[in-house]
């Protein structure tokens, strides 16, 4: 798994350039543990269509109160829990001035 950081997340998405401290985040893929005999319910595709490491990164915050960010990259999803990070993203999302400056 990649060494995700807040800066990495923010820089790689939508051209955002909000200054945040560099910090490694704990995260985990969403694939649940399963018996080896069954095929994963969601495909674990890693073929030619998978985006390279240089591909786009998207993230989604479904519930800011929980401090949880879903990061989508290639054919993976990584869930990161970081209330500070979420707070900064939400602050940026509600700041039209910040968005327009960076647009």
């Amino acid at each position: 798994m990649k060494d995700w950081s807040r800066r990495h997340v923010l820089r790689a998405t939508a051209g955002a350039a909000i200054a945040v401290p560099m910090a490694a985040l704990g995260g985990g893929r969403t694939t649940a543990a399963k018996p080896a005999s069954s095929v994963a319910a969601s495909p674990q595709w890693s073929g030619d269509h998978a985006a390279a490491d240089t591909g786009p990164v998207m993230f989604c915050i479904h519930d800011a109160q929980r401090g949880e960010v879903s990061i989508l990259h290639g054919t993976d999803e990584v869930i990161v829990h970081d209330r500070q990070l979420v707070a900064r993203i939400m602050q940026a999302a509600h700041s039209s001035a910040t968005v327009s400056q960076k647009a």
Binding site: A36, S38, V39, W45
Partner: protein
């Protein structure tokens, strides 16, 4: 329809909308199983200049459960890739397309097949060609030859085909969705009208087919080809599913998908999500795998349609109206398979786990003289033992819901006379409507009708 536009969300996403799934012992190669999943409902053959194609951003999967837990043990994944040969024309083809590599074919689509067993993934082949859509005699002059060239062996006795086909499913849509009118019984309906013959609403429409033919031993639990119908390992569960990546981004300059794949469509038994599951839960159903179908069992046990029939046809279904017990017959047919001892010489029971899958007993050989009404017609090789391309599934399921299969679990129950007379599109008998046709060989669904040669709203059934 079987599953064409069956749920609110997927009806807006045709390339991922699974319309039909079939699983049967290949009649001409009885040591193999053929599994077919169709997508893109109601393709108007003349729908150019951007003719129909699979989604490059969709992952298609065919799933096989061989231990009855409602989870896939073997899966085949299909991913497509589309090229444009001539970037300076709006045309799909710049002249007659004589071969799959013809430079006149301006928008060729290829695909990759990956086999998944547990956590092991193996790419079987990449850059497999698909045929163009059937446009007309000038653009696709020898369509059968063109399409047949796209049937591709993958090694290990496996063959695949992906491309446009004539929709082999038939249903009187205009009738059944007009408050469950069953032509020619309109005169008995609560809102009566003169009786007329049935109409195949899918006549002259194409679909996009993914078909794979696999040796039986590659799908069963122990890798063997069973010959004993009552061997529990002789039954496999089959369903198809489609996935999109969770993230989709669009602006003026670019669009892309990224992130993990999430299921957006699935299909095992025809009409399950369409007719059994309430509208408010259809989208949820499409996102689950069969192992979680216990939560929909109550809709099978007390199907809404069985309550509606006696109301819409006053006095026609009195025994059905009086039947209040849970429908153990339907629960078996759709969610667990039929256990030994219910139908002489047959079982397709996969255990107590309730899961909507086509259940195919691979020890039942193909019928020498198939009956399109499947097991209800005395043909153990037909639906609901898997599903063949010509099986009359709407009639079979309508009759089952109307009570004709309830005596299987309660011999005291006498079905209403009308239950055995219900038919959809065709007037009984053992022949599909004249508007559909099939092939005797893989991929069994017939070549698509062409845009040039198809007359819209042709009234022939």
């Amino acid at each position: 329809m079987s599953s064409h536009r069956e749920a609110p969300e997927i009806s807006k996403d045709p390339v991922a909308d699974n319309t039909d799934t079939y699983a049967f012992i290949s009649p001409d190669k009885p040591d193999t199983v053929t599994i077919i999943s169709n997508y893109i409902p109601l393709e108007d053959p003349a729908g150019g200049p951007n003719f129909f194609e699979f989604g490059d951003d969709v992952l298609y999967r065919i799933n096989i459960d061989n231990n009855g837990d409602g989870k896939a043990d073997v899966a085949y994944e299909f991913r497509f890739d589309t090229k444009i040969r001539n970037a300076e024309t709006f045309l799909y083809n710049t002249g007659p397309i004589a071969s799959l590599t013809d430079p006149n074919f301006n928008r060729p689509q290829t695909y990759t097949v990956t086999e998944v067993r547990g956590t092991r993934r193996r790419q079987l082949k990449r850059d497999i060609p698909t045929p163009p859509c059937n446009i007309g005699p000038r653009s696709t002059p020898n369509y059968a030859k063109l399409a047949n060239a796209a049937i591709t062996p993958l090694g290990g006795g496996i063959s695949v085909f992906a491309g446009q086909r004539l929709d082999g499913f038939y249903v009187d849509l205009g009738s059944v969705f007009d408050l469950a009118v069953l032509r020619p019984f309109q005169n008995l309906h609560l809102i009566p009208s003169p009786a007329t013959g049935g109409v195949n609403a899918l006549r002259s429409f194409n679909v996009h087919t993914i078909a794979i033919q696999v040796p039986i031993g590659a799908l069963t639990r122990n890798g063997k080809t069973p010959t004993d119908v009552f061997d529990p390992k002789a039954v496999i569960g089959v369903w198809a599913s489609a996935y999109r990546q969770k993230g989709r981004y669009q602006d003026n300059n670019r669009s892309y998908s990224t992130g993990a794949f999430t299921q957006v469509s699935r299909l095992g038994n025809p009409l399950f999500n369409e007719v059994i599951v309430p509208m408010s839960r259809k989208d949820k159903w499409n996102r689950l795998e069969p192992s979680q179908d216990y939560q929909f069992a109550k809709y099978v046990a007390q199907p809404e349609l069985a309550k509606l029939l006696p109301v819409l046809y006053p006095g026609v279904f009195p025994n059905l109206a009086a039947l209040t017990a849970d429908r153990a017959d339907l629960l078996a047919i759709l969610l667990t398979g039929v256990p030994k001892g219910v139908i002489p010489g047959f079982q397709n029971f996969t255990g107590p786990k309730q899961a909507d899958m086509l259940r195919l007993n691979v020890a039942v050989p193909p019928a020498a003289t198939p009956n399109i009404n499947g097991i209800l017609g005395g043909d153990l090789a037909g639906f609901p033992n898997g599903r063949r391309v010509f099986d009359n599934v709407v009639t079979i399921e309508l009759r089952a819901v109307a009570g004709q299969t309830y005596p299987l679990i309660d011999k005291a129950f006498v079905p209403d006379g009308a239950a055995g007379l219900i038919f959809d599109v065709i007037g009984g008998g053992n022949t599909p409507p004249p508007s559909v046709s099939y092939l005797d060989v893989f991929p069994y669904l017939d070549h698509p009708v062409s845009g040039y040669n198809t007359v819209p709203l042709d009234q022939s059934a």
